[in-house]
Subunit: 115 residues, 3 copies
């Protein structure tokens, strides 16, 4: 099966297609002045963009992993998540706490989607 790699930069690709499955890198916000809800909104917009490039969309997400630097931010992250996600097509999901690459990053989301 064919592999297609999108937006490769130095150490990783932002999206990788393999057959009918799409793998997204851990996506973080660029604007780190925003709170966890705002950063999540930026991330979810970027996920929309990457899924479109890879021939998928948010109604086709299979599984998502969410890391929060402070697990107490889960409700604020979920506000953005709930407003965005296709509620008839919900992915499997895990959400745990972890420090991220930059202290200003409050949330990171990686996922696997179907084309």
């Amino acid at each position: 099966m064919e592999i297609k790699r999108h937006e490769q930069e130095k150490i990783l690709s932002h999206a990788v297609e393999y057959g009918n499955t799409v793998y997204l890198a851990g996506i973080v916000a660029k604007d780190l002045t925003r709170g966890v809800k705002g950063q999540t909104e930026e991330i979810l917009g970027e996920i929309d963009r990457l899924l479109a490039i890879a021939g998928s969309n948010k109604s086709r997400i299979l599984s998502a992993t969410i890391w929060l630097t402070d697990i107490r931010n889960r409700p604020a992250m979920n506000e953005a998540w709930s407003a965005w996600i296709d509620t008839r097509n919900l992915p499997a999901r895990a959400c745990v706490e972890a420090k991220l690459a930059d202290p200003g990053m409050l949330v990171e989301i990686a996922l696997v989607a179907a084309k």
Copy 2:
């Protein structure tokens, strides 16, 4: 390929089938009065139930990710894991420390399985 989503609730599905692959959400115990071994036993029972719904079973697990709130609980988690897992059909596995959604949750397990 067809996507089938099982037990959708508000923000996630507990199991998602895609073709011949099954993705389970991060599963946690409901009875948080139990220690790490007891919580792991409850989670593994829930995994049995979800895999059955999705047309799979524990002998078909491909990969598992395990989060412990205290990595020193790994031996107690492994007691329950070792008693449960099909030792002739062991999955790839990673086990790391992470805080979880509720302070009483001691372990969370997500996995990918074959149908």
Copy 3:
């Protein structure tokens, strides 16, 4: 589709093939006297070995998850990663902080690859 499990030991397999996809366990270094760059080099060598056993190689990696016990070690880990990875075929990647099974382990890498 057929499942092939490689190097099963007690609680996990080090590599699992399913159809044309390969799942590697979270790989850690054996020589814990080395720093994060050295441990990463050992892990990447082990990944080369396991991917070869499973009929894949580093140019076919789809997605990688990297855990560092101290996220400030990301640059040192990336030195080893950048020297090793096929820069024309970069995987999706997420890198977060997490304590690992042994206090001496500084980095752990799990991944999914295409055959």
